[in-house]
Amino acid sequence: MKRQLALFFAIALGASAEEPLLDAFTRSKLAEALGCVNLSVDDLGWNKRPIDDDFRLKCVNDTLDRPLELADYAARAEREFGADPRSAAAAGAAWLDVDGLGTADPEPFELDLKVEPESARALALEFAGTWRDAELYRAGATATLTPDEWAVVKKNGARLYLDESEEEWDMTETLAAAKKAELAGYFRAAIVLARGAQADRKAPADAADWKTAVLTVRETSDEGLKGLKISIGGSGNDVHEADIAIDVGGNDEYRNCRFVLDFGGDDTYRNCGEGNFACALIVDLAGNDRYLNANLAQGGAAFAASLLVDVAGDDRYEADQCSQGSGYFGVGMLFDLGGNDGYRGARFVQGFAGVRGLGVLSDVAGNDTYYAGGKYSHAPLLPENFQSLSQGFAFGLRGANTSGGVGILADHAGNDVYSAEVFGQGASYWFALGVLVDSAGHDKYDLYQYGQGAGIHLSSGVLFDRAGNDAYSCNYGVAQGCGHDWAAGLLLDLAGDDYYQGAGMTHGGANANGLGIIIDRRGDDAYSGSRPQVQGFSFQSRGSFGLGVLLDLGGKDRYSEEGRDNRTWTKSTLGVGLDCEEESR
């Protein structure tokens, strides 16, 4: 069943790769709309990046210079971050401009483990090997740092996104040292972890012979493995507290484990798989599981690689920050391949990336619920609301003039609910790229402000929904295809009867020289704005223009402003809307 599912998605995603998301008709109508404001498609490349820095990614510059490529990046995210962590880890490297990963594995090592039966011994050896190889690559990534630089990075590296004091601190020294970290090492580690994940594993034939045991590694040729604690679990309900835990069945509880392989049962993971300057791997093959963490877990990594693969079951993920597919100076990925899942976190979660990071959450099947917020106030701007910075979100460090990474949330099926407060859902802040892709189902997107296909301050974001009757809601605007301050945002919905509700700078809105585009390709849709600055809106700033574009290319639609079926309208300083039917070509 799982293999069939994976095959189905491979085929579906492969097929979708054949046709660009912005087809010829869409492009011709965009050109027509732009003509109504005296612009061409080439003009969309006005300069949105007046400054540069050493951390800038090509995909960020690409999407600021050629904003329509946001659709191509969304298609790539859908295609490359599916059900296969290994191909995802390899593909992810290109997003962060890393090439030349190489194929050479570390030197073999000797390890003697006294555990029975043989299948338990083999798996323990395999996981110890995965641990050792991933850690070697992780350590290699920062091998060129001097001891002083390493000390600074070790002291302050995680704090780049986890400092809750709200006190400003000078990140210069930390970033200067961290810049020397070679991302290729983290991606090599991620590939090693993905190789170890093997979602199609079968429970060992002799599982009934497994006995619960804990052993400590002593006889090994690899110093890094000495003292490693490995816990083996049988078919009963076990409690594991070890570096590595492998369990063939039962409803188990894991505490503070870094690497876990669990073959079945409804399990609880407490503080496991934390990727804070350490590689982490959790593979759970069946059961309704609960994952409970604070920070940098559930596929959350800083200066490391971290992977969580949950193959089946209705699972609950709870974390505070930088988790559930989150990375900075590293790679964090979470793959959930089946079941109706719930994700809950406070901030920087569910496909989040900071500087030099890739954060990916790929949920392949089921009706899922995502919530981010409720803890960190957005004072002073919105003291009664909470920050989310999640759900396909990436975040550069503006105060340190340091570009961000790539945050991707890809949900491939089911009727899903996305809920966030301030900043989220296919958006980014300060020279970064945020992508939210939903491939199927009737979905609900709820946000307070800043997101749903938005670039915020010299940054890019895209929300792509392939199918279904969807509802998008945003209380306070700057959303649903919005570029805020030399930024680019795209919301692309290809099919279904959709409802868009927003406030200002929404439904193709821009300010301060940004570009915001919303494209709804098919279906009977409704657009409602609580303020008039919606549905193709922007204003003059810094002596020149920004641009808001709304394209609705099919169906009977309703607009709260001047839009109508089969009409083109312009408004504000430079905003345009175009509604048409494809048959009218």
Partner: protein, 310 residues
């Protein structure tokens, strides 16, 4: 220069330096939400303290790129200068000296602030910064504020220089729009056909700001359609009814873009009698953009404009 800054700081009473530092920190917070009252109060305190605050800020706090800080610098320094001509002179002298700072951001902010103070006597020194790639943005802002037509040729030269970045070129256009005059107008019209859209639109907005109706009227027959459309758009936004007779024929232009832009421009200068030609035109019209503009115009004739101006 560093020595000068040190001497100025040392001239402050020991406690004052620390007090100002704390107040300045508050004055530079983001003036939103829960800071809405706090930030202006801090700025007010600094303005009331007068001269010693100038010594604290110039040049010590000029090395700031963050627009929240530069805005605070502007509000406080201008606030102090307004109180007393002697304090204004003190600010101008300090800023003029800072034009030679080794720090580009200090030079840029000093020029910008001198412009805001209207210290046109420093224009020659500021004009020299146009050749300084790190601080010419501040120089342009200042020269725009001084409105010195004599600086137009050097600004136009910078605008047309090979390799000038797009953002700088936009700023040149904005500055020309602030200064005005025949030479500036000529340069602005030429850039309605610029290859960079940001520059083209900046030129249009600058011409609007100058209410250059006659100049724009001549552009209505320009061979470049983009220039004609910019002129139509600008004339509509200026709303001078004197050009109605120039626009009306273009409402029947064979090119639907030109028709649409002409009708949109006419919306700001409609007469009830326009119904008589617009209704038949709407029945004949096939282009969705032009139809929308005709409908918008007819709605506007029949009903007052929305209070929100949309």
């Amino acid at each position: 220069m560093k020595r000068l800054a040190l001497v100025l700081l040392m001239a402050l009473p020991a406690g004052a330096q620390e007090d100002f530092e704390a107040i300045w920190k508050e004055a530079c917070l983001w003036e939103v939400g829960s800071n809405v009252e706090r930030v202006p109060a801090a700025r007010k305190k600094l303005i009331e303290a007068g001269g010693p605050v100038l010594d604290f800020l110039i040049p010590g706090k000029l090395d700031a790129a963050d627009s929240i800080i530069t805005r605070s610098l502007s509000l406080v320094i201008l606030g102090i200068a307004e109180k007393d001509p002697a304090l204004r002179k003190k600010a101008v002298d300090g800023l003029a000296e800072s034009l030679e700072s080794e720090k580009p951001v200090v030079r840029r902010n000093a020029a910008d602030l001198l412009g805001q103070l209207g210290a046109s006597e420093t224009a020659p020194a500021i004009a020299k910064l146009l050749k300084d790639k790190d601080s010419r943005g501040g120089a342009l802002m200042a020269l725009g504020a001084f409105k010195l037509e004599s600086s137009v040729p050097s600004i136009a030269e910078l605008l047309d220089a090979e390799g000038s970045p797009e953002r700088l070129r936009v700023l040149c256009v904005v500055t020309l729009g602030s200064i005005g005059g025949p030479e500036a107008l000529s340069s602005l019209v030429a850039h309605l056909a610029d290859k960079a859209a940001a520059v083209r639109f900046a030129a249009q907005y600058a011409l609007e700001g100058l209410r250059a109706v006659e100049t724009l009227r001549t552009c209505l027959s320009d061979p470049d359609k983009r220039v004609r459309l910019h002129a139509l758009n600008a004339l509509g936004r200026i709303g001078d009814r004197a050009v109605r007779t120039d626009l009306l024929p273009l409402a029947g232009d064979p090119d639907p873009q030109v028709r649409g832009f002409a009708i949109e421009a006419l919306i700001s200068m409609l007469k009830p009698s326009d119904r008589d030609w617009m209704r038949p035109a709407l029945e004949r019209e096939k282009d969705p953009f032009v139809k929308g503009k005709l409908e918008e115009a007819l709605r506007r004739i029949d009903a007052p404009a929305r209070p929100d101006g949309m």
